[in-house]
């Protein structure tokens, strides 16, 4: 074939092509990314979006877990305090039992029982960020009030749970009545009121009934605290699980969108050589002509 050399068309086209490859690899090395726009690798771009959403979802669960963790800590310490108060109340009630007990001792026991009642009432009405922890889902209403002379539970029986990972939930809003009353006829606050009266009056039967009720309340409170502890364990497990999931998702994200730097640097060097070669080839070819030899 008869060959004609078109410097502008052939040479410039090759130079531009080499320059384009050089610029592309240079961008990969400087940015650390392999996919700049979806057309660089449509499938990887698609996967990277899903990977990123996965990471965001995991981070959301982690943030929910952080919030739940603070609530669970508050629930745990509150229930621990209720258990302590119930223990103190039981000790005081026992001290008032028996016919040989003095009135002074009975009065002291009654005072301790009423103090325990007040402490437990305060505990059960604990708030977290303005929400009551023991009102079930009725978080804006004080769980127990004594406005009309008797203790009334104003919350509901619906515990509030949150998802701390796709398959794990923990309870952050407890039904306070299930702790203080359970299946008993009266809640423990009323029980403590009655017990204080019985202790002061030397009502042995009343004190005995009150002690039994306190024992049941103690059992319910420790069970509730155990549940909270289990939830804290669940949360810790979930946090570990989320860390593993996040690492897997970020690794996948990196595989889909990050550049292999060693490979990119090698390609950049190759592209640089190709660019220099194209420049050299065009400048050499354009210098060579038969005219140079016709003197």
């Amino acid at each position: 074939m008869r060959v004609t050399f078109n410097t502008v068309r052939d040479g410039l086209g090759n130079i531009q092509s080499a320059q384009e490859q050089y610029a592309e690899t240079q961008w990969q090395v400087s940015s650390g990314l392999r996919v700049r726009v979806p057309s660089d690798d449509p499938l990887s771009a698609q996967r990277a979006i899903q990977d990123q959403a996965q990471v965001s979802g995991i981070d959301a669960y982690s943030q929910i877990g952080d919030s739940a963790s603070a609530r669970l800590s508050s629930l745990d310490s509150t229930l621990g305090d209720i258990v302590t108060r119930l223990t103190q109340a039981l000790t005081a009630a026992h001290s008032a039992q028996g016919t040989a007990v003095s009135q002074t001792t009975r009065d002291a026991a009654a005072s301790t029982l009423l103090a325990a009642r007040d402490a437990i009432a305060g505990d059960i009405n604990t708030t977290f960020n303005g929400a009551y922890l023991f009102s079930g889902s009725n978080a804006s209403v004080e769980p127990y009030s004594n406005g009309s002379g008797s203790w009334v539970y104003q919350g509901d029986a619906n515990p509030v749970t949150v998802s701390v990972d796709p398959n794990r939930t923990v309870t952050i809003g407890v039904d306070g009545q299930s702790v203080l009353k359970g299946s008993d006829a009266t809640d423990v606050l009323t029980t403590l009121d009655n017990l204080a009266t019985a202790a002061q009056a030397g009502d042995e039967a009343g004190v005995a009934a009150g002690v039994d009720a306190l024992n049941r309340a103690f059992s319910r409170a420790t069970t509730a605290q155990t549940r909270v502890g289990l939830d804290e364990n669940t949360l810790a497990d979930g946090t570990d699980h989320l860390s593993t999931l996040r690492m897997a998702a970020t690794t996948q994200l990196s595989n889909d969108q990050d550049a292999n730097l060693a490979d990119a640097i090698t390609k950049m060097n190759q592209a640089q050589i190709a660019y220099q070669s194209a420049l050299g080839a065009v400048s050499t070819a354009s210098k060579t002509s038969l005219l140079d030899y016709l003197r």
Binding site: T4, V37, P42, Q46, A131, S137, A139
Partner: protein
């Protein structure tokens, strides 16, 4: 005596031929970089002696422009393919940039919005968490609005390119018609120069649209466009028209007779931008609208099934949208809800601390609700894949077409292109011929002088 004078005449003719050869060589060298120029070759013809005894000479038979009609036609076809793929790649290159990068586009807004419901589920009475839901909902709507506007902008840019392309087509068609008229009345070098110009115009035209060229007997060209619609016949141009069509206002391309031939424009850069404007962008926009519509619909349904902080049934979170078409542009947070954080319906029971509805909305991001097959982020990633894939296909097509054009161009240049080495050889050849003929002229002249001197004595 008469023989020597004939020899002088013959030498003069040969000098003319060599000089003409040098002129044409000079013309070829001068035009070696001229777009569309076809190499000229001088045809020399032998002139025998009139009496059959004395020496003959040479004459200029003519000059020929070296062209291959088949290759020129093939080149026009490939230029059309290159123009189409190139214009698609360019237009989609802008579109895919407008999609935004991973983690900072619609995917991020979707995740942030639904995750804000997760945060609210952890603290359903929190004013901060409620405000965050409203802020992220507003951000999501803004992202949809911006993307829709970018698609619209890309469509308007494509439409502007269509209009500009048709203007160029008409200008080139007018130029070709004028050249046809000139070619009809021209001969020789002038006609060849006009044909070079016409070929250049035809190549540019082929890069714009799918045309068919029929060479006329006089060397001019008739041109049809689309499905054989007359564009240039002889010296007559049949200009294309543009008419804005509702509701988009995009241009329809019409013949002089008013026939809409928009769908017939399948090649060239105009064919490419038409494909982007009328097929690809509406498809992308439709997918974006479907995502926005489903988001609004699903979130509203869930939100209305819940209860706000006042215990009242939830209102539509987003302003209700009647149909998917235009949803991405229309989506916005219900102003009533946006104005009162208490109206965010996190509760599923009506009690303030209940978070079941917030959890439902948090979990909605994992539901396959877009066309019943994809989550919101999946649907978005599919759209990104489609745009990226279409762009990559067009870029590959453009590269392939460019390679084919280069190959055909090289084939065409093997016949029509100017080789500097060949012209240098020709220059030397004609120079030597001129020198030899000049020497011959001098010799004959000297002989005549000798003869004259003898006659004088």
């Amino acid at each position: 005596m008469s023989g020597l004078f004939t020899s002088l005449t013959n030498a003069s003719s040969a000098l003319n031929a060599a000089q003409y050869g040098l002129d044409i060589t000079g013309q070829n060298i001068a035009n070696m970089n001229t777009e569309g120029y076809a190499r000229r070759a001088v045809t020399l013809v032998e002139v025998p002696a009139p009496d059959g005894k004395s020496g003959g000479t040479v004459d200029i038979g003519g000059v020929q422009a070296l062209r291959d009609g088949l290759l020129e036609g093939r080149l026009r076809t490939e230029l059309g393919a290159q123009g189409q793929q190139g214009s698609i790649a360019n237009a989609l290159g802008v579109v895919e940039t407008a999609l935004g990068s991973t983690g900072s586009s619609l995917d991020a807004s979707l995740s942030a919005f639904f995750n804000s419901w997760g945060q609210l589920s952890a603290d359903p009475t929190s004013v901060v968490a409620r405000s965050s839901v409203l802020a992220q909902g507003s951000q999501l709507a803004s992202t949809f609005n911006a993307l829709s506007a970018r698609f619209d902008g890309a469509g308007q840019n494509a439409d502007a390119e269509v209009r500009s392309g048709v203007t160029q087509i008409n200008a080139l068609a007018g130029q070709i018609a004028t050249l046809n008229a000139s070619i009809g009345g021209a001969t020789g070098a002038e006609a060849q120069a006009l044909q070079d110009k016409e070929n250049t115009a035809l190549k540019t035209l082929a890069g714009l649209a799918n045309i068919t060229v029929m060479t006329r007997a006089d060397g001019g060209a008739d041109v049809t466009i689309g499905n054989g619609r007359a564009l240039v016949v002889g010296a007559n141009q049949y200009a294309l028209g543009l008419s804005s069509t509702p509701p988009s206002g995009y241009a329809a391309i019409t013949t002089t007779g008013g026939v809409d031939i928009t769908s017939e424009m399948t090649s060239g850069s105009v064919g490419g931008v038409l494909r982007v404007r009328d097929t690809l962008l509406p498809d992308y926009k439709s997918q974006l609208d479907q995502i926005a519509f489903t988001v609004a619909q699903q979130v509203n349904t869930a939100h209305q099934a819940g209860y706000d902080l006042n215990g009242a049934a939830g209102q539509a979170f987003f302003t209700p949208i009647a149909a998917a078409a235009g949803a991405a542009a229309a989506i916005s947070v219900n102003p009533t809800v946006a104005g009162d954080v208490d109206l965010v319906a996190a509760s599923g029971t009506g009690t303030t601390g209940d978070n079941s509805n917030a959890k439902t909305l948090f979990d909605l991001q994992n539901a396959r609700v877009v066309n019943g097959t994809a989550t919101f982020v999946n649907a978005w990633s599919q759209l990104v894949y489609k745009v990226g894939s279409d762009t990559a296909t067009a870029q590959t097509g453009e590269t392939t077409a460019q390679d084919v054009v280069t190959a055909v161009q090289q084939l065409r240049d093997s016949i029509s292109g100017v080789s500097l080495d060949q012209e240098a050889t020709n220059m030397l050849m004609y120079q030597r011929a001129y020198q030899a003929n000049a020497k011959y002229f001098n010799t004959v002249n000297s002989t005549l002088d000798t003869l004259m001197a003898m006659a004088g004595n």
